[in-house]
């Protein structure tokens, strides 16, 4: 059972306090978008072996959504950060590269 620190209330929360929300940093495509772009947005998800960015909600806590950078193999958590961003902050990317020098960045 994971522990993730909610960046809003600062609590190290047990997974039982959290709800998962899938891949982070999806770009929304709405009316007028091509079938390919919309299908990609709606259905295609990264499933990497290694560094992954995902959405979590502190649902049995402060109720806020936040994002986490995590290794899907070792479950190592590189950091959590507020959801109000379209890409991972530099500090998170630095933390990942410090631990995973070979990481090629987000697909």
């Amino acid at each position: 059972m994971l522990i993730l620190t909610c960046p809003y209330c600062g609590l190290a929360a047990d997974e039982t306090e959290l709800s998962p929300g899938g891949e982070a940093h999806l770009k929304r495509f709405g009316p007028g978008s091509s079938d390919d772009a919309f299908t990609g947005y709606l259905f295609h998800r990264e499933n990497p072996r290694g560094v992954h960015f995902e959405r979590w909600r502190h649902s049995n806590g402060c109720g806020k959504w936040f994002l986490a950078a995590r290794c899907t193999v070792t479950l190592e958590v590189f950091g959590t950060y507020p959801a109000q961003t379209t890409e991972p902050p530099a500090a998170i990317l630095d933390a990942i590269r410090a631990k995973r020098p070979d990481w090629e960045g987000r697909a």
């Binding site: 929300g21 919309f38 109720g63 190592e76 959801a83």
Partner: protein, 1003 residues
């Protein structure tokens, strides 16, 4: 025969006799016995039958690795199957029954399988029971089911209570042997919060039996002194009878404490489940002895050497007067010496190694014990227990050189570290060639949330098998853990001293040159009857992966999960494949370490407090008025209120009729009420709903539909504009929390710059639907607000006071009648509800439940989320195109509803359905038959029933359904086959059955 010795037994108190029964037979043991030692003391060597061949099975081990001696413990509702006698402490009145035999343990019909064993090899079921297909269901499966299964399942509710506890620790030490105790003391002295879990009732593990000294003290003295030191440390918690069950992500652990199994105390918690977060875990879990694979090694009387030693030293019980020891290592000699010391006869030690010159073999020789090297057991004589062994050359093919009479065999194939906990969270293993064992690879440790190792292993669990090595290794391990936690070690490493041991000689098959016939008698997995020949057959048939071989042969799939058999089995597989052992690898170790009770997992969450219940402010009134409740999410809502012996159908009929003809009252408090407020609230709701909410005038209500981003209808409800900045969104009862979360998701993660605030006010208000031709009269009688047609038109709302209670009145209708929904503060909900009933008495005010609500909405053709929708239905399927804004550039689901499949004209559409026989109700979910068959040979369909009721208003059955091209097929008759083999005919009609013009609600 096995018996109690006249002296000895460190654990037992001979002054306290304990009575128990086995298969109804009254037996006695002593306080301190396990059920295993007490059974052996009573010469009850035969305790069960194996799974497949029903072969006689006796006690093999003395700990949790026991594969054979499983019994059903207790009687009636307290009966629990598959309990290991080796880990069951004896108490007065214990009742045990053997399993897996018929008609009796001594004479078992299923044992016939034994005689056809060569026709039942690995994968037999897979290969044999395939064709003809119908035979599986009617012939094979019933027969197999009859003979399969271990113990019987209890039939009654578990009467015992269980509890759970949370704990946090800097360090959890698993195992209270000498390695664990030393580590705990060091960590305790360093000021860490330490929790030590020991699965047995005793501290010190097996080292007091094996002997030696620590820091010059006899082992038991050192244990006593260390425990005393630990007892004085407030930061150290010691738990016996508390097994670590599993380790999970980020240092989460489960502990399983057996509180009263050893001394039943009804009413007291029986088991306690520990939910633990540990910064670091140290496994000091010791090692489990391996058996040897020689022909006939499964006969009762063949036991692990260490276990035989345990029974003699700990319990003063001998498995037999004459015991042959067969070993491939020095440790086995300890058993020979212990038996000799107890005055028993050891006719010979058969050592598979070419020579044995270590301190322990020499000690055995000095005691006059005959030691034969290079020898193997090539045959075991006896039926239901051992009567002798045939001795041959280990290097040979199995010729008997000599027969030795004996009534027990002690076998030792070396020791396997308990690496389970290291492996639970992904720690990797290395093969230690010199000691022929897998041990944890410190370079590939399990890691915590920070990516750094959060486990260490010390002592025998790390492959340190002699006392000196155990203590040194434990010290190294705890030093490493302290370093990780930023502490330094003050204690010196303890010095353990015990005789040096020569390396073992790996022996996977005994004798080495055995042919197929002998290999068919070499058991690997005793419980599941897997033999050396089965694993070799699997390898020949192409099973190269150890995981596949396990499942094909069922090796290690018994209740002991291969604690005894895995290493021997994979070594045999490795040999058969010609691949080295580390390349073959082990199967996956998964929690729990040994089975834990379902009761402990459930804890207190059962019965009335299985899950939290949500009750409306009027709940007690409903109960007092005979409501029959149905669960809706965590709520309990009245389904109907049967009066004076009414059936539910009769009650619903009465409630609908009363509402349609005069006045009905519904507790609608469970409907979701989410307030959405802020400068951008209108814009936000326009994105959330398919229709336009920003243009809704203050004081008005509008019915809205909400879709998910992939276009499917997910919720509906009435939205009221409260003021310029504020909207109140009603959701379905089950949808309130989900829809609030959905709103927050989009607000926080997509449109975070929009100025909108949401709050779920569902429980702040009680809501009452006042419905029927006399609804207005009731409200006027309550007094305080003008609710006339002119003042409060259809789909208007107003604030005011009714019967002296602050009220918000919405003029909305889900029944088609004149209807008001009145929200009052939750604290005054019951008062308002009772005021409505009091004032409504003259109109025959009738409380109605959810079923009447359903019937009335269906009579009006209103959809219900969860009936007409199922996650694949879009509003366009339901004739709700009018509620989809054509003007809006965007809303959630709009783009998805433009996808090809969503605009397909052949999507099934909502219609009404009238059975040709008005008294015949269509079953919910029934499919309409179409001609022809699909690619799978199944009959084609052209529609399905989504809702179906008997309508009291219309006096006939009505239904709604989704039908291919439905709206353009009015009047056509469809056929609906039912599960009981009939076919019902129903005509396609308009889904609005009642008051099509909508005149009744608009008066």
């Amino acid at each position: 025969m096995s018996t109690r010795l006249a002296r000895g037994g460190r654990r037992i108190d001979r002054s306290k006799r304990v009575e128990f029964t086995f298969n109804g037979k009254r037996l006695t043991g002593y306080q301190g016995d396990t059920l295993a030692s007490a059974l052996l003391a009573n010469d009850q060597m035969l305790v069960g039958r194996s799974f497949k061949y029903h072969r006689p099975r006796g006690v093999v081990a003395s700990g949790p690795e026991e594969p054979n001696a499983l019994v059903a413990l207790g009687d009636g509702a307290r009966m629990e199957p598959n309990q290991r006698v080796t880990t069951t402490e004896l108490f007065d009145g214990l009742s045990a029954r053997s399993q897996n035999h018929w008609p009796s343990l001594e004479f078992d019909i299923g044992g016939l399988n034994n005689h056809v064993a060569r026709f039942l090899p690995a994968g037999f079921y897979y290969k044999t029971f395939i064709h003809p297909r119908p035979f599986w269901k009617h012939v094979f499966e019933p027969v197999i089911r009859q003979s399969a299964g271990l113990g019987p399942a209890p039939k009654d509710r578990d009467p015992d209570v269980y509890e759970q506890v949370y704990a946090f620790a800097d360090l959890v030490v698993i195992g209270g042997g000498v390695a664990g105790l030393h580590a705990a003391r060091v960590a305790g002295a360093a000021g860490l919060r330490v929790l030590v879990l020991e699965q047995t009732a005793h501290w010190g593990g097996r080292s007091p039996v094996d002997g030696g000294t620590i820091d010059g003290q006899p082992v038991q003295d050192w244990i006593d002194a260390t425990l005393q030191a630990l007892d004085g440390m407030e930061n150290v918690t010691l738990r016996t009878r508390c097994m670590a069950a599993g380790i999970y992500d980020h240092g989460y652990m489960i502990g399983y404490e057996r509180l009263t199994d050893h001394a039943p105390a009804p009413g007291m918690p029986r088991h306690r489940l520990w939910k633990i977060r540990a910064a670091q875990v140290l496994s000091a879990t010791g090692a489990i002895e391996r058996g040897l694979s020689f022909p006939g090694n499964d006969l009762p009387g063949v036991m692990l050497a260490g276990a035989l030693r345990d029974y003699v030293v700990e319990y003063g019980v001998s498995a037999g007067d004459r015991t042959v020891v067969v070993t491939n290592n020095d440790d086995g000699y300890r058993t020979a010496l212990a038996l000799k010391e107890a005055g028993l006869v050891v006719p010979a030690v058969l050592d598979a190694r070419p020579e044995a010159t270590g301190a322990l073999p020499e000690a055995a020789r000095a005691q006059g014990i005959r030691v034969e090297t290079g020898r193997a057991i090539v045959k075991v004589m006896g039926g239901k227990r051992v009567t002798g062994v045939g001795v041959g050359l280990q290097a040979g093919e199995g010729s008997i050189l000599e027969e030795i009479a004996c009534d027990a065999v002690a076998m030792s194939g070396g020791w396997s570290p308990v690496v389970h906990f290291w492996s639970h969270t992904g720690g990797k293993l290395v093969w230690d060639e010199a000691q022929a064992l897998f041990r944890p690879d410190p370079a590939r440790a399990p890691v915590g949330a920070d990516g750094l190792p959060n486990q260490a292993v010390g002592g025998a669990a790390n492959g340190a098998l002699t006392l000196g090595a155990v203590m040194a290794d434990s010290h190294d391990a705890i030093s490493e853990v302290l370093r990780r936690l930023g502490k330094t070690v003050s204690d010196p490493a303890p010095a353990g001293d015990a005789p040096a041991e020569a390396p073992l000689h790996p022996v996977w098959v005994m004798p080495q040159g055995a042919g197929h016939k002998l290999k068919s008698k070499m058991w690997l997995d005793y419980q599941n009857d897997v033999k050396v020949s089965d694993v070799q057959l699997a390898a020949r048939e192409g099973y190269e992966s150890v995981e596949h071989t396990k499942r094909y042969t069922t090796l290690g799939m018994a209740t002991d999960q291969g604690k005894l058999s895995n290493i021997n089995g994979l070594a045999v597989l490795s040999d058969a494949l010609g691949a080295p052992i580390p390349q073959v690898g082990t199967t996956t170790f998964r929690p729990p370490f040994t089975p834990i009770s379902m009761g402990a997992i459930a804890g207190e969450a059962r019965g009335d407090i299985f899950q939290p219940l949500r009750r409306t402010p009027m709940h007690a009134w409903h109960e007092a008025h005979g409501a029959y409740f149905e669960p809706v999410g965590h709520w309990r809502r009245p389904y109907c209120y049967p009066q004076g012996g009414e059936s539910h159908a009769q009650a619903v009929h009465r409630e609908v009729t009363a509402t349609r003809t005069s006045l009905g009252l519904l507790d609608a408090s469970t409907l979701g009420k989410i307030v959405v407020k802020g400068p951008d609230a209108g814009r936000f709701l326009d994105m959330l709903y398919t229709n336009m909410m920003s243009t809704l005038p203050v004081g008005r209500c509008r019915y809205g539909l909400m879709c998910s981003e992939n276009g499917f209808l997910m919720d509906d409800g009435v939205v009221a504009r409260i003021d310029e900045d504020t909207w109140l969104c009603h959701t379905t009862t089950g949808g309130a929390d989900r829809i609030h979360a959905h709103m927050e998701d989009w607000l926080q993660c997509e449109w975070w710059d929009w100025k909108v605030y949401t709050a779920n006010l569902t429980e702040h208000y009680a809501q009452v639907a006042i419905v029927g031709p006399n609804a207005r009269k009731l409200i006027e009688k309550l007094g305080g607000m003008d609710v006339s047609k002119e003042a409060l038109g259809f789909m208007d709302w107003a604030d005011g006071t009714l019967a002296g209670i602050p009220a918000r009145v919405f003029r909305i209708s889900f029944s088609g009648e004149l209807s008001y929904e009145v929200a009052v503060p939750a604290s005054r909900g019951l008062e308002f509800w009772e005021a409505c009933h009091a004032a409504g008495a003259e109109f025959g005010a009738t409380a109605y439940g959810t079923e009447a609500l359903h019937v009335m909405r269906a009579e009006k053709g209103f959809i219900m989320i969860g009936d007409e929708t199922d996650g694949t239905v879009i509003p366009q399927d339901l004739g709700l195109g009018w509620a989809i804004s054509k003007k809006k550039a965007d809303y959630l689901g709009k783009r998805a509803q433009e996808r090809v499949h969503m605009t397909d004209p052949t999507r099934w559409q909502l219609v009404g359905l009238e059975t040709l026989d008005p008294n015949e109700r269509l079953p919910d979910g029934a499919y309409a038959r179409a001609s022809g068959t699909n690619a799978n040979g199944q009959g084609n369909t052209q529609g399905r029933v989504t809702s179906s009721y008997m309508s009291p208003t219309l006096g006939r059955a009505i239904a709604m359904g989704l039908v291919l091209n439905g709206p353009s097929r009015m009047g056509e008759v469809l056929e609906f086959p039912t599960v009981d083999g009939r076919v019902l005919s129903a005509r396609i009609v308009d889904p609005v059955f009642y008051d099509k013009a909508g005149e009744k609600q608009n008066v």
